[in-house]
Every structure is written in C-alpha cells, then in structure tokens.
C-alpha cells in the first residue's frame, strides 16, 4: 500500500466526514515516513481530545503501521472557523 497525502486526505474525508483536511509529509525527503494532519469534522463535537485522536487513529489504523511519525490536530468546524478568523 502506498501512503500518500492524497490517500490520507481521502480516507479522513470519507470515513470521518471531514469538511477540511490538511496533510503534510513531514519526512525529511518526502518519503512518506511521517505526516502531520489537520482534520476538521463535526464528528469531533462534544468529544475530548483523546477521543478525537482515537477516531483519527482508528480511521488510519492500517496506514499507521507503516508511518513512522504522525502528528494530528483535530478541530470541530466551529473551532476551525474561530481559528481562521484569528
């Protein structure tokens, strides 16, 4: 399985109903070893941080076996709007 930014974005969009996803390959030579994601989804509403991150981890369980490092930020659409306006 080849892990690409597009693949991760697609999966998070489909499975978590994300309305916005930023994916960045943070490995030094863009070798898909580490990624940083920002996920905006209404699924996160009312859920603490740990639960949000678990949702993302679950969604990418297969990919995370191959990925060396993974950073994530999880926002509700409301939080995302707030952050954008700041």
């Amino acid at each position: 399985m080849e892990i690409t930014c597009d693949h991760i974005r697609e999966k998070l969009t489909q499975k978590l109903g994300a309305v916005h996803v930023d994916v960045e390959d943070t490995s030094s030579n863009r070798c898909a070893a580490s990624f940083k994601v920002l996920v905006v989804s209404s699924e996160f509403e009312g859920k603490p941080l740990l639960q949000r991150h678990r949702l993302v981890n679950m969604c990418l369980a297969e990919e995370l076996k191959e990925i060396h490092a993974f950073e994530q930020k999880t926002l509700t659409p409301e939080q995302w709007e707030k952050q954008k306006s700041q």
Binding site: S27, L49, R54, F70, K73
Partner: protein
C-alpha cells in the same frame, strides 16, 4: 526486508546522538532481571502505569531523548516542574515497545499516563499545555505546576 532497512534508517536519522542503552538514573527497564514475556507484558503494564503518578513511555531517556516527540514531552514536563515521574525507554525492549501500543490502543510513542490513566501522546500533551488543561490535570495529581509559581512571581 527492505522495509526493515528503511525503518532502521529512519530511526537513525531521527536519533540525536549515540544510542545510550542505560537510563541516566541507573534504572534499567531490563536490568531488574526480568525481561518481559509477551503474555506478561499486558499485566505488568497495568501495574507499571499505576506505580507512579506520572509515567512516560518514550524513545530514549529523559536525560537523552532519542526522538523529537519524546523530547517534547520531557521538555513540557520540565517546564511544569514535574521531576518525579517514571520514564521507560521502549527502545530497550521490543516487547515493551509493541506491548504498550497494544495496552493503550495507541499507535505511537511517546505515551503519557497520569494516575494509571492514559492521557495521550505528544500532540495531546502539547495542546493541554497550551490550553491550560495540563496545569489543572497536574493539580488533580497533587502536583503544583511550576508555571503557576512563575506566573505569580511575575505579577
């Protein structure tokens, strides 16, 4: 095989200096004479996370973290003046490395526990630090964050 080589190369790249198998305080994960048998790991982890108020599973030691994310956790705890915590080096023991991932149902290292409860990894601790939750959670453990004292002094 190629995967293994790549993974090793990645680890080496992200490592800072020479691999130091011994923890700074002399407490060695496997030096206690008991290496972890797979079947025992889960049970032992259940005890380990409760043994100390704050427990960190990391790559390297607090004196010499071997990965940026583990280092970030150490630095955050240091900022809050949390000295009294147990750090376990997962690079020392492959059973522990996989065992703690299974135990927490969490795919990455570092992992932080407060009072036997899983808090999260580096991202979560960092966000808790930024939004002030960490100070509150430490208070629940009876730990007064050094950042609170610093704040008072500057007023």
């Amino acid at each position: 095989m190629n995967n293994l080589i790549r993974a090793t190369a990645r680890c080496l790249r992200s490592g800072t200096a020479v691999y130091m198998p011994r923890q700074a305080d002399g407490r060695l994960w496997s030096a206690s004479g008991r290496r972890f048998l797979c079947s025992d790991v889960q049970k032992d982890l259940g005890e380990i996370v409760k043994k100390d108020k704050v427990v960190v599973f990391m790559k390297g030691t607090r004196a010499q973290p071997m990965c940026g994310f583990s280092n970030a956790v150490v630095q955050i705890l240091r900022m809050h003046g949390v000295d009294d915590y147990a750090d376990y080096n997962v690079l020392e023991d492959q059973d522990l490395r996989q065992g703690v991932k299974d135990f927490s149902n969490w795919p990455t290292i570092p992992q932080v526990y407060f009072n036997g409860e899983f808090v999260g990894g580096c991202d979560i601790l960092l966000q808790m630090h930024q939004n002030g939750d960490l100070v509150e959670e430490l208070k629940k453990l009876g730990i007064h964050s050094a950042l609170l004292s610093a704040e008072k002094e500057s007023k």
